[in-house]
């Protein structure tokens, strides 16, 4: 989802009896629900996987600002513009909490950020789709942030303390994002026929990419099994996706909008919605860099980083000058 297909570097999940004493103590601690903290011993695989997962998550927050930024100057009212700005500002903050959590694992923010800019580390596939109509902004809040919450709420219980605490803070703020999105879509769905059509058009385009956010089925994936043993993944991709569908379909019905899936049907026996096949080829293409906006998104981030270099350097130079002056003043006194 915000972190999709995280590689754990393992070929097979070890049982307790195959582990070293240190690893076993570590695993037993996780099994007992005790959080791992930055200075505790941890297996290298756990550390590396968490760095991958948290930095992918952080990059998603940062790149996730771009589709929404597209509409700041075109928001239809001052109120909606202020709300949109507040949301985008939150996303930057979420990126910061997450980069900070990653830094507790022994990497620097600039290092992991360089991996985003070089294309080595991905961000969520969803942000490679364009926001072409104003209703997209509501739909992104409703569906994309809704899916993010679905994934992030269980992560508040994950085994790594700094990550779990960042998730608690993020989830609190994310609730505003989803609600403002639904409120926006509701306003349009109750508006003129043209506005309602815009809302429907947005749902048509975002529904399937939102379902892809949870990643391909992973029930037989060794990485998923390892991440679950480490409790840095709590529910499987398909479980999360099903929860999301079950929750979201009634919300669409309430708005009088149609979910673009002819196979979508309530299943009385399972107590869940059945839904159609996801186009995984499209997902693979987007992850491989061939989505509608991949190149544009990365180009924008690289340009922002390069254009900001003089500013970062200037602030550092200013801080150094100030501290030199303070030292000189202290000597003179």
């Amino acid at each position: 989802m915000y972190a999709q297909m995280v590689d754990t570097g393992v070929k097979r999940v070890q049982g307790l009896d195959e582990m070293s004493a240190e690893e076993r103590a570590f695993q037993e601690r996780i099994d007992a629900g005790i959080k791992i903290e930055a200075k505790d011993w941890m297996p290298e695989g756990y550390r590396r996987t968490l760095i991958r997962q948290i930095s992918q998550h952080a990059h998603s927050e940062i790149v996730g600002q771009l589709p929404e930024g597209n509409w700041v100057t075109r928001a239809p009212s001052l109120k909606r513009k202020a709300i949109l700005l507040a949301k985008i500002q939150d996303e930057a903050g979420h990126g910061l909490y997450l980069y900070s959590a990653a830094e507790t694992l022994g990497v620097t923010r600039d290092q992991v950020y360089a991996d985003l800019l070089s294309g080595k580390v991905k961000y969520s596939s969803i942000f490679n789709y364009p926001t072409t109509n104003w209703a997209d902004i509501g739909t992104v809040g409703w569906l994309v942030d809704g899916a993010a919450i679905m994934n992030q709420i269980p992560l508040c219980r994950c085994s790594y303390g700094p990550y779990s605490r960042a998730m608690v803070r993020v989830c609190k703020e994310e609730s505003f994002h989803q609600r403002q999105g639904y409120d926006l879509v509701m306003t349009m769905a109750r508006g003129t026929p043209e506005q309602k059509q815009m809302a429907q058009d947005a749902l048509n385009r975002w529904w399937w990419p939102a379902l892809m956010m949870f990643g391909p089925p992973d029930s037989d994936s060794v990485h998923s099994a390892q991440s679950m043993q480490w409790k840095i993944k709590i529910l499987s991709n398909d479980e999360l996706r099903q929860k999301f569908v079950d929750q979201t379909v009634p919300q669409a019905e309430y708005l009088g909008l149609t979910v673009p899936d002819p196979e979508l049907k309530w299943n009385e026996d399972t107590g869940h919605y059945d839904f159609g096949e996801i186009d995984w080829e499209e997902f693979r293409q987007v992850v491989a860099g061939n989505g509608p906006c991949n190149r544009d998104r990365l180009r924008t981030r690289v340009k922002a980083w390069d254009d900001g270099a003089w500013f970062r350097d200037a602030l550092l130079a200013h801080a150094e000058k100030k501290s030199e002056r303070q030292v000189a003043a202290a000597k003179a006194a």
Partner: protein, 93 residues
Amino acid sequence: MKEWPLWEVFIRSQHGLAHKHVGSLHAPDAEMAINNARDVYTRRNEGLSIWVVPASEVSASSPADKEALFEPANNKIYRHPTFFPVPEEVKHM
């Protein structure tokens, strides 16, 4: 006679929670500060982990800036989810 420096003490009270500021104390160095914090602040099992930070290293906002810093958030009520009413029929949001 040189005085011992002042240290700010932060305690993690439970697994999973962040360290929280509990008070300060004097000690000649960080190691002694942690020992002293153990004696002063965790006598009744209040903690699982201790951080100490030299008080001189803490930079703080000025109380006089309170309004300039925090007042702007007051009129941005839309940052709270409750600003957006959720219809009865739509649960879980």
